[in-house]
């Protein structure tokens, strides 16, 4: 038996903290991001992913504000703490359960367009879940808790499997390092915004399951990196840029031998 401190506290009403179940994500145009690879996609959790299952926790301590204040500020300015080159376009209502945020991520010099659904949000935490095609299947929980010394600790915890074999290879070839740097930079920027002058971001990584789910290799079909590369190449802007480049070449005099 492992009963610990079971109390007769009333049941918490958390219905408003969770998103409603969705079969497919529905999004419309949102300025500032490309907004592709989300509409019509299903959510993908760690159960539906392909690669090894990782739990990654990034955190910093020492805030003098309350957890509620920290989370309110993080929600209000979420994308502003991301490293340069990455875009987060939330809905007008902000980070609320059921809202979809569209993302343009800078991956190895290319732009990857995808999104997340806010599956859970309360005063001290919020959670994003990824759609088909995202680099990983799983969710990220952002939270703040009071520490024993009375300060506030903030963390981002990722529970993820690479969505498909290509992403799994990518993670092994530097993707994990880039992701660690992404969240470390993000939390450092957040900590500075919240008043810490020299924040230290701690990182704790656990491989929860070293097995790959080979039956999920078909997730490749939705791979947002491949689709984003194609969308970039096929976009009208790219075609017009290519056309201008060709015109410039044709108008230049042929070099004399």
């Amino acid at each position: 038996m492992s009963r610990e401190e079971v109390t007769s506290a009333p049941k918490r009403d958390d219905v408003q903290n969770w998103a409603r179940p969705v079969e497919e994500l529905k999004v419309e145009y949102r300025p500032g991001v490309r907004g592709t690879n989300v509409d019509g996609r299903r959510l993908n959790g760690a159960v539906q992913g392909f690669g090894k299952l990782w739990q990654k926790t990034y955190s910093f301590a020492g805030l003098t504000i309350t957890p509620e204040e920290a989370i309110a500020e993080w929600k209000a300015h979420f994308g502003e703490f991301w490293p340069t080159g990455n875009k987060f376009a939330g809905s007008l209502t902000g980070i609320q359960p059921g809202e979809i945020a569209l993302l343009d991520l800078s991956i190895g010099g290319t732009k990857l367009s995808t999104g997340v659904l806010v599956v859970y949000a309360d005063d001290r935490s919020f959670t994003f879940m990824t759609p088909q095609g995202h680099m990983f299947g799983g969710w990220i929980t952002f939270s703040a808790e009071p520490a024993r010394d009375g300060s506030t600790t903030v963390q981002a915890q990722v529970l993820m499997r690479a969505s498909d074999p290509i992403y799994e290879v990518g993670l092994a070839l530097g993707g994990h390092r880039r992701e660690d740097a992404f969240w470390s930079e993000t939390l450092t920027a957040l900590a500075r915004h919240l008043g810490l002058e020299s924040p230290t971001v701690d990182q704790h990584v656990v491989c929860v399951d070293s097995h790959r789910q080979w039956g999920r290799w078909r997730n490749l079909w939705h791979n947002a990196a491949i689709r984003s590369a194609w969308q970039t190449a096929a976009s009208p802007f790219s075609l017009s840029r290519l056309s201008r480049s060709r015109n410039r070449q044709l108008s230049q005099p042929t070099p004399q031998r």
């Binding site: 610990e4 299952l53 739990q55 929980t141 915890q157």
Partner: protein
């Protein structure tokens, strides 16, 4: 600081089946309790682990993460994970997170122990 208020009692009501009676609040703070309960439930002959959520008061996204980790451990041991006693709200959460594709949801303990008929959390 929030004190974790969770209880997890393990029973073995039938051969090859362990039932974990969950009471209180399932959050990321209950990792140790859930791990301990799984270790008690997972004897060499255990083929199915049934989670009884009848006494569940609250579960947040951190708690869902704990369920995923327990599910992975069970799958490694070729054990099925089943559940019953979920309110409509938490059935919807299992559907939202697509955990219902891996955790079979039943209407009562007898059907969960028997392993059928399955009920999807929709």
């Amino acid at each position: 600081m929030n004190t974790p208020t969770v209880g997890m009692d393990v029973r073995h009501p039938a051969e090859g089946v362990a039932v974990v009676d969950i009471t209180g609040e399932v959050t990321s703070a209950c990792e140790a309790q859930l791990t301990h309960a799984y270790e008690q439930a997972s004897t060499p002959g255990t083929q199915s682990i049934v989670l009884n959520f009848s006494g569940l008061e609250y579960m947040n996204s951190g708690g869902i993460g704990m369920l995923v980790i327990m599910l992975v451990r069970a799958n490694r041991q070729h054990q099925q994970v089943r559940a019953y006693g979920l309110s409509e709200h938490y059935r919807q959460i299992l559907a939202l997170t697509r955990l219902d594709e891996a955790i079979a949801v039943h209407c009562d303990e007898a059907s969960a122990i028997a392993g059928e008929p399955l009920e999807r959390a929709r």
